[in-house]
């Protein structure tokens, strides 16, 4: 199990680096800017209950990728080594 967790940690760190250093304006932000341009008077009708902030969001995306990578490597290994592929 340790090596699957290790894969998850490595992927999570990779995502964290790409999202914080790689940067670039997100298309979602560009879409919001365009919508604001099309409808200048429009106001959001609900605000998020909480927001993790830019750093928190990057960390949670990294967590998502890390959990996904752990599961991916675990199940790929099961398929490769067990009789699962023969059933």
């Amino acid at each position: 199990m340790k090596r699957f967790l290790l894969v998850g940690v490595v992927v999570a760190l990779g995502i964290l680096v790409v999202t914080t250093v790689g940067g670039g304006t997100g298309t979602d932000q560009q879409a919001v800017a365009l919508a604001t341009e099309q409808a200048p008077g429009y106001e959001q009708w609900v605000s998020p209950v909480w927001s993790p902030g830019t750093t928190g969001e990057s960390a949670l995306f990294a967590l998502q990728g890390g959990v996904g990578a752990t599961a991916l490597s675990y199940y790929l290994d099961r398929l490769r080594t067990s009789d699962a592929s023969d059933t």
Binding site: G24, L79, A84
Partner: protein
């Protein structure tokens, strides 16, 4: 973004997405009960969505965006199961990351979980007889990604039209599509290569074969 989509559109897209997600949930539950191999394959394809949709990739012109990661699911299990898995991923991002938001969840599920995968799956079925499984997967993943963001453009164009009537919505749709196109075209192609590589690996370890994928769609 929470509260970004006007209420009428938020409700409409939720109503549109709901039956597909409910049917997808039923199909997913029955599929994972099939056998150990199928259960593990669903987990692999779902984990692939988790990983790829977490990536915020820099693209051309200094912009960045997310792949959808749904191509492998579309090829192995079809659009219904993709709808359910996409909902879980988008729900995680809405609740924990405040990314997207619960009020835009229906619209996001419709684009990433319903329309995009269905168009990609159709493209896969059209090219499958002429191309190898990996080449067909590449086509399916690219088309799924592009169709997802084109659907988002239509949704935004309809909600924030550039003028009166259908022509105003259409003009706005094209504006939003232009915003996404430059970034998403190369990301979609990259996603195609990654999905094809994943399916290629599953072929090499004899988990799937040309004639035996996940569960027939």
């Amino acid at each position: 973004m929470e509260g970004f989509l006007p209420p009428v559109w938020a409700i409409l897209w939720t109503v549109v997405a709901l039956p597909f997600v409910a049917y997808g949930a039923r199909r997913t539950l029955s599929t994972i009960r099939t056998d150990t191999r199928t259960k593990a394959l669903v987990a692999v394809a779902a984990a692939f969505v988790f990983v790829l949709s977490a990536l915020k990739l820099p693209s051309v012109a200094g912009s960045s965006s997310h792949p959808t990661g749904t191509g492998v699911l579309v090829v192995l299990f079809g659009p219904a199961i993709t709808a359910f898995v996409s909902t879980i991923v988008l729900l995680y991002q809405s609740v924990l990351l405040a990314h997207g938001g619960l009020t835009t969840l229906g619209a996001n599920v419709t684009s990433m979980g319903v329309v995009g995968p269905f168009v990609g799956w159709t493209a896969y079925r059209l090219v499958r007889s002429r191309l190898t499984l990996q080449q067909s997967t590449f086509v399916a993943a690219v088309v799924t990604d592009w169709a997802t963001y084109l659907t988002t453009s239509v949704q935004l164009g309809a909600a924030f039209p550039a003028g009166e009537g259908v022509s105003g919505a259409l003009a706005s749709t094209l504006d939003f599509a232009a915003v996404f196109a430059l970034t998403q075209l190369p990301i979609g192609i990259l996603e195609g290569f990654l999905a094809a590589a994943m399916v290629g690996y599953l072929l090499r370890i004899d988990t799937i074969s040309d004639r035996r994928l996940g569960v027939p769609s």
